[in-house]
Every structure is written in C-alpha cells, then in structure tokens.
C-alpha cells in the first residue's frame, strides 16, 4: 500500500499532537501553518533574539509549552512542515496553498483541520477607534513582541482569557486601568459544578483575579459597556491630552475627513455598572473580547455539515466523538472545531489522527482511544460551565445604538444593518450581507458576523439560528497582489 497523503492544517497544540500520532505510526504528514513558527496561539513562540523564559511567557502552562515545542521540534524530518504557508481554499480533494514558494495544490487522502480560534466580539459604540484591540491581539503584543497595547489599558468583555491577559499585563509591568466583565458575578455559582471538572483551571482563575486585585486594579462584574470615547484624532494619550504624531501627521496629511461616525482614537470607556450607575475609565487602549469562536471557514469549504449549538449560539461543524466530520476523510480537532481549550486541543488532535489511521486501515489501540475520549468529555463539561459563567451578552446586540459601528471593516452601523432588515425583509445572514455589506469587508465577517446575526435576529424578532451563518468563500484570507504575483513559481 502506498503511504497515504495526510495533510494537517495548523501547528498549534491540536496539529502538533496529530502530527506526532501519525509520525509514530510511520506516516510523514504535511503540516501547514501560516505562522512563522509552530506552537499556535497559546504556545506562540517569540521571534529569534528574544530571551524571556518559558515561565515568563506561559506562566502555569510553561511545562506544557515546553513539551509541545520539544515534541514538534523532535519531529523534524518525520513531518513535511510548511510554515508561513496559508491554506486559502479546499476543493476537489485538494488543499490550495500560498507560501514562500508560491501557489501549490496538494491532494490528500485524509485532511485534519486544526485551525484554532479567533476572538468573539460584541461591538461597543466607538470600537472602531484606534487603540481598540481584540483581547487575543493584546496578548500577542505582549507574548510575541514584549509590548503593551497602550500606557493605560482597560480589559473589557468576558471569559477566562479576560482575566488571564489582564494578569499577564500586570505581571509584565503594564498599567491596567480596569477589568470590566459583562458577566454578572452570580452567573458563576450555578456554573460551579461544571467548572469543577477542571479544579486546577478553576483555582488558576482565582489566582489570576488575586494578581489583578493586588495590583490595585478595579474589577467590575455585570457591566454594560456604553461608549468607547475618543479624544484628539490619533491621540495616543487619554482624553485627548496628546497630539497626533502618527503616520497622518508624519506625512502632513489632513486628518479631518468628516464622516458620519465620530472619529478619534480611544480616550476612555463608559459603562453602566451592575447597580445602575455610570462610570468612566480613562485609558488609551482597550482589549476587548467575549471568549472565542472557531475558525471554521476551511471546514465549510470542505463541505462539512454544520449544526447550531444553542449553548454558545454558534454554528459549528458536526463531528463524531473522535473528530470525524460529515465528509469522509475530513477530521476536525482543537479550538477550530469547538472552543474547548489548549489541553483538549492536544487530546482531540491526537484522537483525530487516530481516527484517520483507523479509517485508513492502520491498527490503533482501543485503550488509547477510550482514555482520550474520556479526557475530551471532561473538557466539554468544563467548557459548558465557562459558557454559563461568562455568557455571550446577546442583549447588548439588541441595545446597540443605531450609530454604533457593527462592521469595522466597511464602517457599517447597527442602524444601517437594522434598516436592511426592515426595508428589504432580509433576515438570513447572507442576504443581509448582500444588502448591507456587513461581513463583506477585510475580515470577511470574522469579527462582526456573530454580533451581526444577533442584531438581525433582534431587529427581525426571530431566533438567531434562523438567521443562519455566513457562507465561507475562497480565498479565506485576501491573497495580496504582491504574493499572487508569485503564482506558479
């Protein structure tokens, strides 16, 4: 039998453990990742020349990070690793890539998608302002570049990552102005039994909160974000105290183009507190996010079936407990299939590889499968506790003021999106996108799609699952003119 061609997309925890399982079975998989280095999001590596230790970078997860990096480095020669290579399409049993050597199409017998996640965002009026970053992005600035996103940072949103990144900022010496959690503290109590599925993770959460509080940083629960305020355009300092010295000033361009939307960089954030009052926090940067969403575009292009998951209010690719998608030969693992965290990603990556091996006729030990399935089940229980403790604030979508931008890419407001729904009757995500352009811009709906669906659902008074999901289109990320010029090289 010729060696089967197995392609793994993603070299994070899921992809690395899948590659290891295949290499151990004597197969040399192709591992593709658009990143410069392996490790994925949680175990993202800093560039050459940086010297911070694993303990500094990954805290309590340092040993796991080291183990994963060592594992993948040790597979050199046994995997065909292609870094800095984007998979931009999947069709006709082939993966279409663009990398340092130009375009390629790679046929596969089995495809393991380990594409990871991006932040889930609920828009706040003013979130288009310079100085607003995704929560994950704020962590990348620190982890990969040793920078804070500003000199006074507010963390806004919800979920475990909110506390993790805020604590990492505090420890690294950044000035954190506040941690503003939209989840009411009381939501944690009914979630406790499920969160106890991972007692160590729960305890970690307690320690993170303690780190933040000891630094004198206020933590507010149950806030409703009202407004991200702006100062002088381009100002890097709170409340307009600074002057614009950005590129616009450097080249003397006028910065006073009038738009329908208030311009100017972040100067602070106003929230309604749990007791009904209003508070303003001055800051020059905001890290915002509400947990994560899986990157499912490639699964969609591979024609995998999706189903609505009411617990997270997202459409997710369907898979069996071992990671088999609805399409034969396609497997899904890690946070790219469902947000279950890094440890689960390692287990589900290995499990998906073992499922592929089984389907290709290789012997696989059933004890191994059973214990991995048990692991994943624990993470599923924990994740459902997290969803309960840090809920996606749907009511914010309905309450979003008409002049708030929903789509940052194309500058489309909640009012414009609502008008599309009422004027054209478009209630389905793709129709509403065609009329309003929400989801058509640079990010292809990654950062506005889920919130836009909630805005549409509220405006049309229908359940969000009836709005459906945005169809994915190739290329899954824009292929720049510069790179496309290398086609066929």
């Amino acid at each position: 039998m010729a060696e089967p061609a197995i392609v793994i997309i993603g070299a994070g925890p899921a992809g690395v453990r899948a590659a290891q399982a295949l290499a151990d079975a004597g197969i040399r998989p192709i591992v593709i990742d658009e990143g410069r280095r392996s490790g994925g999001q949680i175990y993202r590596r800093q560039p050459d020349g940086f010297t911070r230790s694993h303990a500094t970078l990954y805290g309590t997860e340092a040993e796991r990070a080291r183990a994963l990096h060592t594992c993948f480095d040790g597979l050199e020669g046994r995997v065909d690793y292609r870094p800095e290579t984007l998979v931009w399409h999947i069709s006709d049993g082939q993966v279409w890539t663009l990398g340092p050597d130009g375009h390629q199409s790679i046929p596969y017998d089995a495809l393991i998608l380990c594409t990871g996640a991006t932040d889930r965002l609920m828009p706040v009026r003013g979130w288009h302002r310079a100085g607003t970053y995704s929560l994950g992005g704020s962590q990348i600035a620190l982890k990969a570049q040793a920078c804070a996103i500003g000199s006074q940072v507010v963390f806004l949103g919800s979920g475990p990552l909110l506390y993790l990144v805020a604590a990492q900022y505090v420890k690294a010496g950044a000035h954190v102005a506040a941690v503003l959690d939209t989840a009411p503290f009381a939501a944690r109590i009914p979630a406790l039994p499920k969160l106890l599925a991972q007692p160590a993770a729960l305890w970690n959460g307690v320690l993170l909160t303690r780190t933040i509080k000891r630094a004198g940083v206020p933590i507010l629960h149950g806030v409703t974000p009202l407004d991200i305020t702006g100062g002088e355009e381009g100002s890097g300092a709170p409340d307009g105290a600074g002057v614009d010295t950005g590129p616009a000033a450097r080249d003397g361009r006028s910065s006073s183009r009038a738009g329908t939307v208030d311009t100017g960089a972040v100067s602070g954030v106003t929230v309604r507190t749990a007791d009904g009052g209003e508070r303003h926090f001055a800051c020059d940067a905001i890290a915002m996010g509400h947990h994560l969403r899986p990157e499912t575009q490639l699964a969609d292009l591979a024609r995998c079936a999706f189903a609505f998951d009411p617990a997270v209010r997202q459409w997710l690719p369907v898979r069996d407990p071992d990671g088999r998608a609805s399409v034969p030969g396609v497997y899904l693992a890690g946070d790219g299939a469902r947000i279950l965290g890094a440890r689960s990603a390692e287990a589900s990556g290995r499990l998906a590889a073992l499922a592929a091996l089984t389907d290709l006729g290789f012997p696989v030990a059933s004890v191994d499968l059973a214990s991995l399935r048990r692991d994943v089940a624990t993470y599923v229980r924990f994740a459902s506790g997290l969803a309960q403790a840090f809920p996606w604030p749907v009511e914010q979508a309905a309450a979003l003021p008409d002049d708030a931008i929903v789509c940052r890419c194309e500058s489309i407001t909640a009012g414009e999106l609502r008008a599309t729904v009422t004027d054209t009757g478009a209630q389905e995500a793709n129709r509403a996108k065609a009329f309003s352009r929400v989801g058509m811009g640079r990010c292809q709906g990654r950062y506005c799609g889920l919130a836009a669906a909630e805005v549409i659902a509220a405006a049309a008074a229908i359940p969000v699952e009836r709005v459906g999901r945005l169809r994915s289109a190739a290329p899954v990320k824009p292929i720049s003119a510069g790179s496309a010029g290398k086609a066929g090289a």
Partner: protein
Amino acid sequence: MTARFVRLAETDRPALTLHVDGAPVTALAGDTLMVALLTSGATLRQSEFGDGPRAGFCLMAACQDCWVWTEEGTKLRACSTLAESGQRIVTTEPDTTWPNQQ
C-alpha cells in the same frame, strides 16, 4: 512623539532603521512592522470610510486592519511582517502601476 505601544521588556535587541512615509523610524530587530510603527507613532493609517485613524485590531493576521504598503505597492500585513533595515513603507496605497502602462 506619542507612541501607542509600550515596550515592557526585550529592549536589548539591535536597532534598525526603516522609512515610513519618507521619515526615518528606529525599530528593534524582531519587531513586526506594527510594533515599529506604533512605538514611533499612534496610528497605522486612516480608515477609508472617514471614521478616523486605525491602529490594527487582532494582531494575528485575521482582521486585515493593518495593511501598509512598500513604496513599490506590495501590500503587507503590518502585524505579521517583520521590520527590516532599509524598508521603505507607506501607509496609504501607492498609485497602482499596471505593467502594460509602463
């Protein structure tokens, strides 16, 4: 000069100089273009829709908010492109020249 990003560590790396909109900018080896621009200024570009300046968003090559260009017109994602000595970067898209018009 008001910078947006604040360096917290790793400042012993060798310095390098690139040009942004014609002006010299000092960065450190291993910086992304985004860090090079936002430790020397507060914004990356103006929104093409008139809603003010932008300074990137996701830092993981997913949102495409941080496009800048080489003077030759090659589009770059500032968050995932390393700064290099001698680079000449512009923050507005240069006029496209088509090969058949040269």
